[in-house]
Symmetry: C2
Subunit: 205 residues, 2 copies
DNA sequence: TTAAAAACTGAATTGTAATTCATTAATTGA
DNA sequence: TCAATTAATGAATTACAATTCAGTTTTTAA
């Protein structure tokens, strides 16, 4: 199959180390406040070395996001394509997602603030690619919801609207968890999220 | 009462013009990509003149956000304090908010991306003030929801969770509206939002 | 009318930080 | 072992843009 030389293995290790350091720094400082010098120091390389791996700060940033987004997408896609009732699949994806967030706190700090960086979605190529992948997730979700409607599990509302509502709630809970001074397992919010999304908040009379 | 000289009136006019221009530029470019030169040009003043009104780029930015947030808060507070059943008040605030967003598109582009700028909420004084005001809105909402629970209009869920869920959904719809290439009245989403928030998406059997 | 004061201007200053590149260190293969 | 060759370094270069300020224009009021 793949015969990777030590050279190549080392190259990839170093690359990963730089990405890891970048994740840390970007999460704390945000793109503009993060300095290449600081990332280099964190990664224990000289500043110039970063440029042997990434052609610019932007490239480093976007690559970082892109690779992680791909990772989640893979997981979600896998879960959503399993054969199970739509409602059940939604539940599982939600759990999966919150769990992933919990394990990638640094990354999600970046991800969440990126979501609203309109300016770039247009400009950069890699930026556009990322945006596409973010949208893809919503699409996937809405497909499952659509199926759920057909099968009579969900009300016949617009699936896109439903997907946006769910994602909005989830993001809001993630955001809250992120800034909360009191630590708690994010996963513990799954039930509340589902309760509200599925059954609403109004008392039935 | 207030005797404002022409001088003062003019000062305030110019200040407002600069804020307006800044709003426009910041909305398109975001804080870091926006250049003082560009804002000055947009406002039809020399670059140096901006500094007669605001002591720095940051000051200009935060002042801009702060004043608008105060404006919304005033409106919301007024509406929420009116005597009406909680559910009814929620409905009205939602309408109010979406209407306000529609009328302040540029500003909300800024506002939404600001919400996730962790870095600043801590650092800057004015920034902290803004964050406080953002949180205050959630608080207000959760108080109304709490009252709603007491009166049996809402299920006995955690009011904060409910507030976060609602705000999350709303933000998600705003975001979607913002980036949609097809224009539509945001206000048209009120019913969907309420339907989902109040009654959920699951089909009752 | 005019000189002093206030407002405005944009080119020059300044600080910052991404990127480069001459130099040094490490690795390779003969 | 020793010259290539490749990788790593961080000080110097360069680009950029916020802020300043000496000069210009406008307003004021005597």
């Amino acid at each position: 199959m793949e015969k990777v030389s030590r050279k190549e293995r080392e190259y990839l290790t170093h690359r990963k180390e730089i990405l890891k350091a970048a994740e840390k720094v970007f999460a704390v400082k945000g793109f503009f406040q993060a300095k290449m010098d600081e990332i280099a120091k964190e990664a224990e390389f000289g500043t110039g070395t970063l440029y042997r791996f990434f052609k610019s700060k932007e490239d480093l940033y976007f690559t970082l996001i892109d690779e992680k987004v791909q990772e989640i997408n893979r997981l979600v896609q896998e879960e959503l394509s399993k054969k199970a009732p739509p409602l059940e699949r939604i539940k599982r994806v939600l759990t999966l997602e919150l769990d992933f967030v919990e394990k990638n706190r640094d990354f999600f700090k970046i991800y969440i603030s990126e979501r609203s960086r309109f300016e770039w979605t247009v400009k950069d190529d890699l930026g556009k690619g990322i945006h596409q992948k973010m949208v893809a997730y919503i699409d996937l979700l809405s497909k499952v919801l659509k199926e759920g409607i057909r099968k009579g599990e969900f009300k016949p509302l617009d699936p896109m609207d439903m997907a946006h509502a769910l994602v909005g709630m989830v993001n809001s809970f993630i955001f809250e968890w992120m800034i909360s001074p009191v630590p708690y397992p994010l996963i513990s919010k799954v039930d509340t999220l589902l309760e509200i999304f599925l059954k609403g908040t109004q008392k039935r009379r």
